[in-house]
């Protein structure tokens, strides 16, 4: 079965760690970094589970700092019987 895999990219050093992207992700792909700090001094959003992304762009739509870009690639998924 053909499906879509999304690839979110986060410009980590521009992120202010507000967490809005994490709150709207339907697949729990994103998370706020646990400890690591960016050049601004914020704990940025990170892509915690990239393989779960469906490329819906909800995170990018709600990001106030436009730090997220999203790609989509077609993938073949095995049909679960």
């Amino acid at each position: 079965m053909a499906g879509i895999q999304g690839i979110p990219h986060i410009a980590v050093d521009r992120c202010k760690g507000c967490g809005l992207c994490v709150s709207v992700c339907p697949q729990s792909v994103l998370a706020i970094s646990d400890g690591a700090v960016n050049v601004k001094g914020y704990q940025p959003a990170i892509v915690a589970e990239p393989e779960r992304c469906i490329g819906c762009t909800s995170c990018a739509l709600i990001c106030p700092d436009v730090v997220i870009s999203v790609e989509r690639i077609p993938v073949k998924k095995e049909v679960k019987s």
């Binding site: 690839i7 507000c18 967490g19 709150s23 909800s58 990001c63 106030p64 870009s69």
Partner: protein
């Protein structure tokens, strides 16, 4: 592989000064994307206001003028009359447009000026430290009303869009919100519609954008979005208040 979301050319590369989670950044992006998609970037002049959005000229990738407090619609009027072929928009907050700038916005709408106004309503004076704005909700706690806004003393919050929608010169008035990806998509459609209204010379257009102020409200960014949806949307109902068809054809 296809890129389905990337930074619009309508924004500069500058990082914004806004607090984490402030939805001003989303509104900036929607304006930039709308201008890019309508191919208006090279022919647009923006008027930024006073308030948190004062530095929007650094972020939106068009020529912009910084206007006196509340006077952006008057400046936009002048620019539009001198350069009628340019697209002219103002980007104003509620502390600017709904209080000190009430006269300018009402009369710009009344004259049916062919400009587009993006009105960001976050129910508080953000930049100056969270004072009460005309749009602050009844009971909402702010630094100048620590017990909450009392309608007996302060009146009820001003519904700017409803007020302007009944003016004959206003062609298009819509209220949108930025509390979810779905509403953000709708907000972008509204901003594009407002700019298209201007391109088609239909007259005055205003898009009110309900926005958050996590710092001023004393909430986390995620809680602020939920507060907006639960408290502001019921008082400031979303939707088209005046359709372009009813406007003045210039």
């Amino acid at each position: 592989m296809s890129v389905v979301f990337s930074r619009t050319k309508g924004l500069t590369e500058a990082e914004t000064h806004y607090c984490p989670g402030c939805t001003h950044g989303i509104a900036h992006r929607l304006v930039g994307e709308a201008l890019e998609e309508l191919d208006l970037l090279g022919n647009t002049i923006g008027c930024s206001a006073v308030g948190c959005s004062i530095l929007s000229y650094n972020y939106i990738n068009v020529d912009m003028i910084e206007c006196l407090h509340g006077r952006a619609p008057a400046v936009a009027t002048g620019i539009k009359r001198v350069r009628p072929d340019s697209i002219v928009f103002t980007y104003q907050g509620d502390g600017d447009l709904a209080s000190i700038g009430t006269a300018e916005i009402v009369h710009a709408a009344h004259r049916g000026e062919n400009i587009t106004v993006v009105f960001v309503n976050n129910a508080i004076y953000g930049m100056t430290g969270g004072q009460m704005a005309p749009t602050t909700l009844a009971g909402q706690k702010v630094t100048t009303a620590p017990a909450g806004r009392n309608p007996v003393i302060n009146g009820m919050p001003l519904k700017v869009s409803e007020m302007l929608a009944q003016i004959p010169g206003a062609a298009y008035v819509e209220r949108v919100s930025l509390h979810s990806p779905k509403e953000i998509r709708k907000a972008k459609r509204a901003i594009k519609k407002g700019l298209t209204c201007q391109v088609e010379k239909r007259g005055f257009s205003l898009i009110e954008v309900l926005s958050t102020c996590p710092t001023g409200w004393g909430l986390s960014p995620v809680d602020a979005v939920a507060w907006l949806e639960a408290n502001m949307v019921p008082y400031y109902p979303l939707g088209v208040l005046k359709a372009p068809e009813g406007g003045k054809n210039v």
